[in-house]
Structure formats: C-alpha cells, structure tokens
C-alpha cells in the first residue's frame, strides 16, 4: 500500500513538473476533418455564426462515413 502511495505521489509530481516545463498551448482541434471546409459543431451553431457574420449556412446531411470519398 505504501509503495502504491509513493508511486502515485511520484507520478503526480512528474506530471506537475511536465506541465510547468512544457507550457505549449493545446493544438487547435481539426475542424476541417481532412477537407478544405471549416466546420462548426452543429447546424444551430452554424446558423448563429452565419447571422452574426452575415453569411449563409452550408449543412451536409450524411449517412455513412464522412471520410468515404464515395459519399462526400
């Protein structure tokens, strides 16, 4: 049990040190999914953003794999 607690403490210390030493910002999530189009998460969010930016909305309805070239 003591050995386990030591191991947990050591891991926590290493993790804290790692974060402090490596303060790189988190990578931006891929919102293009390998395409040239920037997607937002939901059609509702797209509508709100479009209204704000004075743009139109483009919505893809898919059944099947988004990555499959036969469908997209």
């Amino acid at each position: 049990m003591t050995r386990f607690l030591f191991a947990v403490a050591a891991a926590a210390a290493l993790a804290a040190g790692g974060v402090a030493a490596d303060k790189k910002p988190l990578p931006k999530p891929d919102t293009c999914f390998g395409t040239t189009i920037d997607f937002v998460d939901t059609p509702k969010e797209a509508a709100a953003k479009a209204k704000k930016d004075e743009k139109l909305v483009f919505v893809l309805h898919v059944s099947g794999n988004f990555e499959d070239p036969r469908f997209t």
């Binding site: 189009i37 797209a46 893809l60």
Partner: protein, 240 residues
C-alpha cells in the same frame, strides 16, 4: 472526400457560408461490406430556410457551380424583391424552375404561394416514438413537359446530358395522349421540388430529399451491422 477536398470549393464555401454537418441516416455492414450511405448538401438562409440543395455525391466543379448559383441567385432575388419576403420567395422558386428548364429542357410552373400546413397536434398525424411528427414528404410540382421554346435538337441535347448526370432516370409527365417519358437526374428532381418548396425550413425538406430523391431511409440509428452468420466470427470461430 471528392468535392470537399477541392481548394476552390473550400475557399468559396468558407468565404460565403458557415458549414456544419449532421447524421441523418445509417448504413449496413453486411459481411464486412458497406451497403447504403449517401450525402445531401443544403444551402440555407441563417434562419434555416432552404435556398438550394445538392442530392448525392458530386465532384468539386459541380458543388462549386451550385454554391455560386445560390450566391448569384440570392443577390438577384434580393434586388428584384426590394425587401419584400413574398417576392423574394417567388423569385427564388422561379429561379429553380428556370434552372430546371435550362439544364434539362423541362418545364415546371413555380408555385409561389404556400398552402396552409396541417397541424402537428392532429391525432391522425404520424409521430415517431419520441412524439415528434415525422419528416413530411413534400409533393413536387408536376412536370408540364418539354420547354416549347426549344427546338427538338436543343431539347434532346439537354435530355442526353440530364440522363448522363448522377441519378439519371426516366419519369412520365403529361396526361392522356400528351404523356411522355423524359429524363431527369438527382439535381433536376431537387430543382423541381424547390420550384414549389424553396424557402421552406430544412426540417420539412430533408426527408423528401433523402428518401424520395436519394432513396435512403432517414434514421439516426448507429451503424447497423448485419451478417448472415452472427454465431461465428470472420475466422469461423463460435462467438459464444
């Protein structure tokens, strides 16, 4: 990913639209192979009304052409309507009828007014298990026949092109002795539908596009895995 990896498509869509996607159907895996699966692209006003749609997978130049058509038609309809919503709707529906005529040589009368909607609370209306009404199947306006302004050669050229496009098929139009078989495709059927239903909200249009134009079944179920031998795995070992 075909059209969506085309840099010109990306540049135009990102400049004029805010994009998103939604899963509305499922596909089956039968014996390791995929059956079904499709895509429909919608160009909407920010309030969710459908300006245009592309049914099925298309190449980059086709998607770009359709996206440009939306932006150009929007500008023209805005100018023609002078801020009047009813005139704007009429202009957009007429533009779809004109597009159908230009691309296939077929004539439909744009329906520029909306019939009264049936109530969702009607006890006879069909509802899904969660109580929501099902996506309605919108009736398209009838095809009147070939555009009489075209010569036979012009009409036949357009029909040949229409039949060669994705989803090319023959449908009957006219009545009695004037009954005729004409070629349409997925895009032509969408334009025919939107000549009567453009500027209708997407939740009322998508069921018709996905089921009636593309022949898919609307579903939010996860992927349906189906094998004729569920009791053995692919190596032939008993599963349980």
């Amino acid at each position: 990913m075909g059209a969506l990896t085309d840099p010109k498509v990306g540049e135009f869509i990102n400049a004029n639209f805010v994009a998103s996607f939604q899963k509305v159907g499922t596909f089956k895996i039968v014996g390791g192979n995929k059956q079904g699966g499709n895509v429909a692209s919608y160009f909407l006003a920010p309030d969710g009304r459908v300006l245009h749609a592309v049914a099925g997978p298309v190449d980059g130049p086709t998607l770009l052409r359709e996206a440009r058509w939306v932006v150009d038609t929007l500008k023209a309809a805005n100018k023609a309507s002078g801020g009047d919503g009813a005139k704007f709707k009429a202009a957009f529906r007429t533009a779809h009828a004109d597009k159908l005529r230009a691309e296939t040589g077929l004539q439909v009368e744009a329906i520029t007014w909306d019939a009264a909607e049936p109530s969702d609370k009607d006890t006879l209306s069909y509802k899904d298990p969660t109580g929501r009404p099902l996506a309605p199947k919108l009736p398209p306006p009838p095809i009147d026949g070939p555009d009489v302004g075209l010569s036979d050669k012009e009409f036949n050229d357009r029909q040949t092109k229409a039949n060669a496009a994705p989803g090319g098929r023959y449908v009957e139009c006219g009545v009695g002795l004037k009954k005729k078989r004409v070629a349409v495709n997925n895009q032509a059927v969408v334009d025919q539908l939107l000549a009567a239903h453009a500027l209708t909200r997407i939740e009322k249009v998508y069921g018709t596009v996905f089921e009636n134009v593309l022949g898919e079944k609307v579903s939010t179920k996860p992927v349906d895995v189906d094998t004729p031998f569920p009791w053995v795995d692919r190596a032939g070992n008993k599963v349980r």
